[in-house]
């Protein structure tokens, strides 16, 4: 069965800005995965593909300034669909935080989770329309 195993946002130094797990891992395992992903992704340059084989899975990743957005999926899943899912997500964040930067994700970490849950749920893509997601986020923002 095909689904996202985890989503990670890390900076170049390896600091995690978001970790969203869709599979059961214990804490040590999570830490190991985070380090491994950082190791495989940061050594790659712009001439490389945006895909890396990773254990029995693959990582689809994209770099925005100093941040790496990584999605771990099954090896036979659609690479480009996830690559653009990352970009779609980043555009929503950018709109929501008004020119998003790394610090927004730090100070508003609890809101980032809400954005993720609107767009990805149970390891699947939930909603792809930026308009719909932002409308919903705006509505939630207005609630007390």
């Amino acid at each position: 069965m095909v689904w996202i195993r985890f989503i990670l946002i890390q900076n170049r130094a390896g600091k995690t800005r978001l970790a969203k797990w869709y599979m059961q891992f214990d804490d040590d395992e999570k830490q190991k995965l985070i380090e491994e992903v950082h190791a495989v992704v940061t050594v790659r340059d712009a001439k490389h593909t945006n895909f890396v084989e990773f254990r029995n899975f693959k990582i689809i990743y994209r770099r925005y300034a100093g941040l790496y957005f990584c999605i771990c999926v099954d090896v036979n899943d659609n690479n480009l669909a996830y690559l653009e899912a990352i970009h779609n997500f980043v555009e929503v964040l950018n709109e929501y935080f008004h020119n998003v930067c790394e610090l927004d994700l730090v100070f508003n970490f609890y809101k980032v989770y809400t954005v993720v849950d609107e767009m990805f749920l149970a390891g699947e893509i939930r909603e792809t329309s930026q308009t719909k997601v932002l409308k919903q986020l705006l509505m939630l923002q207005s609630l007390e």
Partner: protein, 978 residues
């Protein structure tokens, strides 16, 4: 559009985060955190009831501390309290804390479930979504038990909001993945399928994921989704780039939904309904057409989204594999991508073409791109792209281009990344063998492999070249000449020394006429490498030397000198010492005639493919080698050998020819390779080798995965054994069982009748019955040829002290078996006490003047003397407890080798001989059995329990008996059966 300011709403949190960020050292950070934890703890413990806002703020701080990597051991209760707040922001923080931090077996789970229940019933879509997301994020079994029944209702309720439906669909998906048994199929399933028609594309997006998951287990229940998916897809694909408004992404209408729909369709065969099929083919063509249109935007997002759909479309076309026209178009499209400036596209095109190469319709079209792919192998900067190129070359290889591809892969090997060298070596070795037209090319290729990447040439590869050279006399002279030349390199790899030593020991005489490679030159060349080699290689070289004494008597004195040297005769390594002593004595005492017989050329190895292929598959996981199979489209190729065995016939008595498939089976267990005990050094290998005639072995296609055994010179026994297949040799003097003997035996553990063995000459059928400690077995020997077998003498041999454990009386059979005739032999068997190894059945005869011999294991295993015992649950448990000494229990956890069908399992267990006890194990999936093994001397009570785990495709088998070796032995026998 909304924009949030930093730390909006919770100033205290923002200040704390700033403080942490300003900490100069780890110590300072820990200090600050500890201060904060103390503060929060005192607030939570304080008398004053905290208001919702403060609670939210502190819980959020705790969460932040946890995410920094620190343990949090309090605050859970406060988080749970937040769940019942009426304020969204408080509830959200509560749910977030729970999702991130609370593990499933927390005692708070009851309180949490209660809060979720309230929110689900609240009719407030925001709260309902929060609750659903929490279930989806935690996904524990407890939550499944509490809510699995409610969620389908919410999903299909007419009045549920769209966003709630989206979340409910995916929430259900998560629960189904975690515990499928908790999600009952019902009338809601039909309504879920109709969500594919929903107005709201987000609902459709979520529903497709759910349906794709559910339909894998219950394809028939969801069959109607095919036509709905096709019409939905068709509407999207044919819409203009702006029709779908919100769901248009960089001028591409609903790319993700399209991809998901195309994936859903890959769960099913092509639609049967002609109209649906026609509409679908039209969609696929439209996608292919659009790929040729000029892009509507220069942005990479546009082309990525468009190509995501294109690649998924191609996957579906490959999945159907029935539309030659579409397959070729797909291939041409991918061909264009091979030269695209985007690395991603080149990578994906190579990957996708790999699967196209295995379709008979597109194989030729793929081949036309060979030059581009070779170029990719040479020039791509990203190693993963080069690897895809190597995969594709391997997949597109056939007789017409093998030489080119092999030579390119060899060239690549010189610079290939270490990580993929072994794989490339295996691939080259496989291709070279598979497509060898003349074997000198094959020999060159393998020697090149050793030269270029000796460290990565595994045993399987160099064993294989020795087997092939041994079996083909047209290449032996060439091989000898080539290894001789290769060995002259000043630094040659140890694997080259091994191959060279073996080949010269066998065929050095073929080049001895040339003074440049005269016997003394050959010897001194080999011996110059001797001292730098490992023990294993030196042992092999010693065998070469003794063979030289036979081939070249003029080298005898020199070689005896070497063997006599203290460094050999008193070598600290026992293997080397033994060889030196034995070879020296042999060369001194044996006459030249005896030497010539003992040391004669190795007989051909049984023709079997291909341990190398098996190894490649192990490396790459299932499916990796599938492109290589000649039967290209066989979907089960990766596990064909495991899956052939039909359900065991335990009760019926099929004719001996009913089960002809048994021969093609999984690798034989290690026990089948040459025995290494020292007790029977002189008898266990006849010069006929493991399986005497090449014609007796299965053809390469049949023995797809079987392992090959190391060439005999690895063990000195082969050389010292009685060479003559003597006509009147005693019954003890038999060869070792054929390599397949153990797996043939395994087939009969749970059944009593069938074909025990078959090759081109002979078929042996078995029919047997057992009662208490007695058994009678009928063996049927069928002569499959039209020529009479002479001196036909089957006999049963007891290795070791089996004679005291099992008595087998045989009746003589006629010494001649006419062509096409069958003779029958009756065996009376008595089990005297428990035994572990079965007796051997040795069959010898002459066919057309050539002596044939064959040793099998007689299908008599200890479980044949089982008497099933029925007992009630309480008796079973009582006895189970009585057998609680650790040595009385044997347990094995192992992967299922066959589909996990409970009915088949039941039949196998009954065939194994124990009674099956119902209503004993609390888990109805498990099997429990009991029985008594009857022997003349004693009875052994046995209890067994088999626990299948369908999700992990594993079993756990536990045996308890009153005798330790019996537990272990039964456990091993039975574990092989699933």
């Amino acid at each position: 559009m909304p924009a949030v300011s930093k730390g909006d709403g919770m100033r205290g949190l923002a200040v704390f985060i700033s403080d942490i960020r300003n900490c100069k050292s780890k110590e300072a950070e820990i200090k600050r955190i500890n201060k904060e934890l103390a503060n929060i703890r005192s607030k939570f413990k304080g008398d004053k009831a905290l208001d919702g806002y403060s609670k939210k703020k502190y819980v959020c701080k705790l969460l932040f501390i946890f995410l920094l990597g620190h343990d949090i051991d309090f605050g859970h209760m406060e988080a749970v309290n937040l769940l019942s707040s009426n304020k969204y922001t408080e509830k959200q923080i509560g749910y977030l804390f729970i999702s991130v931090l609370v593990n499933s077996n927390s005692e708070l789970i009851r309180l949490i479930n209660n809060a979720i229940k309230n929110d689900l019933a609240s009719r407030n879509p925001t709260f309902m979504c929060l609750a659903l997301h929490c279930i989806a994020n935690v996904g524990s079994r407890e939550m499944g038990e509490a809510f699995a029944a409610d969620i389908p209702r919410i999903l299909v309720a007419g009045d549920s909001m769209d966003s709630v439906k989206q979340s409910a669909a995916l929430c259900l998906l998560r629960l189904y993945k975690a515990s499928p048994d908790l999600v009952p199929m019902g009338e809601w399933t039909a309504r879920v399928v109709h969500l594919l028609n929903d107005q709201h594309m987000g609902v459709v997006t979520a529903a497709v994921s759910l349906i794709t998951c559910l339909c894998k287990k219950n394809p028939d229940d969801f069959k109607t989704c095919v036509s709905l998916a096709v019409s939905r897809l068709s509407r999207i694909v044919s819409s203009a780039s702006t029709d779908l408004q919100d769901y248009t992404y960089y001028f591409v209408p609903a790319p993700w939904l399209s991809v998901k729909l195309l994936r859903l369709l890959q769960c099913y065969p092509p639609p049967e309904d002609a109209a649906v099929k026609g509409r679908l083919v039209e969609c696929l063509e439209t996608v292919l057409n659009k790929a040729q249109e000029p892009p509507k935007s220069k942005k990479v997002q546009h082309s990525n989204a468009k190509n995501a759909i294109l690649f998924e479309t191609i996957s579906l076309i490959i999945h159907y594999d029935s539309e030659p026209n579409l397959l070729v178009r797909a291939c041409n499209q991918l061909g264009q991508f091979l030269q695209h400036r985007e690395t991603n596209l080149r990578y994906l095109a190579l990957e996708s073409m790999c699967t196209l190469a295995s379709s008979e319709f597109s194989h030729e079209a793929v081949k036309t791109h060979i030059d581009t792919v070779i170029n990719a192998l040479k020039t791509e900067r990203d190693v993963s792209v080069r690897q895809r190129a190597a995969d594709l070359l391997y997949a597109m290889c056939d007789r017409s281009n093998a030489k080119q591809i092999v030579s390119e892969m060899l060239r690549y090997l010189e610079t290939a990344d270490y990580a993929i060298r072994e794989e490339i070596v295996l691939k080259v070795a496989i291709l070279a063998e598979k497509y060898a037209v003349d074997y000198s090319w094959y020999v060159d290729t393998i020697l090149n492999l050793i030269r270029i990447a000796g460290d990565y040439v595994s045993e399987e590869v160099w064993y294989r070249v020795l087997q092939i050279v041994t079996n083909r006399d047209d290449v032996q002279g060439y091989a000898a000449k080539t290894v001789f030349e290769a060995l002259q390199a000043p630094a040659c790899h140890e694997n080259m020394v091994k191959v060279g030593g073996y080949i010269l020991g066998e065929f050095g005489n073929l080049i001895a006429g040339d003074p440049r490679s005269s016997p003394p030159v050959q010897f001194s060349l080999l011996h110059s490498k001797f001292h730098l080699c490992s023990v294993a290689t030196r042992a092999l070289l010693l065998s070469t030397y003794i063979k030289f004494i036979n081939l070249f008597p003029e080298t005898k004195a020199t070689i005896q000198g070497v063997l006599r040297a203290g460094s050999q005769l008193r070598n600290a390594d026992v293997e080397l010492q033994q060889r030196a002593v034995e070879y020296l004595t042999l060369s001194s005492v044996a006459s030249t005639d005896v030497l010539a017989t003992v040391l004669e050329e190795m007989p051909p190895f049984p023709e079997r493919e291909s341990s190398i292929l098996a190894k490649l598959k192990r490396k790459k996981g299932p499916g990796a080698g599938s492109a290589l199979d000649d039967g290209r489209r066989d979907p089960s190729s990766s596990d064909i050998n495991g899956g052939v065995e039909p359900t065991p016939s335990t009760v019926s008595t099929p004719s001996p020819s009913a089960d002809l498939l048994g021969l093609r089976a999984a690798p034989p267990p290690a026990a089948a390779s040459a025995p290494s005990g020292t007790g029977n050094l002189l008898v266990d290998v006849s010069s006929d080798g493991p399986a005497p005639q090449p014609s007796l072995g299965p053809t390469p296609e049949e023995a797809f995965l079987s392992e090959l055994e190391p060439p005999a010179p690895e063990s000195p026994m082969a050389l010292l054994a009685d060479p003559a297949p003597a006509a009147d040799s005693g019954p003890e003097d038999i060869g070792p069982p054929i390599p397949e003997a153990d797996e043939l035996l395994n087939k009969f553990v749970c059944k009593n009748n069938g074909v025990l063995f078959e090759n081109q000459l002979l078929q042996i059928g078995v029919k047997s019955e057992f009662r208490q400690n007695l058994g009678r077995m009928y063996l049927f020997y069928g002569n499959k040829t039209s020529v009479q077998f002479q001196n036909f003498s089957p006999s049963v041999v007891h290795p070791g002290d089996l004679q005291t454990q099992l008595a087998v009386q045989t009746k003589r059979v006629a010494a001649q078996v006419d062509g096409g005739a069958q003779v029958q032999q009756v065996l009376n068997i008595e089990c005297l006490r428990d035994f572990l190894a079965p007796p051997f059945l040795s069959v010898r005869f002459r066919y057309g003047g050539a002596p044939q011999s064959l040793t099998l294991k007689l299908p008599v295993t200890i479980n044949k003397f089982f008497q099933p015992t029925e007992m009630a649950a309480q008796d079973f448990f009582q006895r189970w407890k009585q057998l609680s000494l650790p040595q009385q229990e044997a347990q094995k956890i192992f992967k299922a080798n066959h589909p996990m069908d409970p009915e088949v399992t039941k039949a196998k267990l009954l065939g194994f001989g124990s009674a099956l006890l119902d209503n004993v194990d609390p888990n109805p999936e498990n099997f429990v059995g009991a029985g008594i093994i009857q022997t003349k001397a004693l009875q052994v009570g046995c209890l067994l329990r088999l626990e299948p785990n369908a999700q992990a495709q594993m079993y756990r088998l536990t045996l308890r008996t009153s005798k330790e070796p019996v537990s272990r032995h039964l456990c091993e026998l039975l574990a092989q059966q699933f």
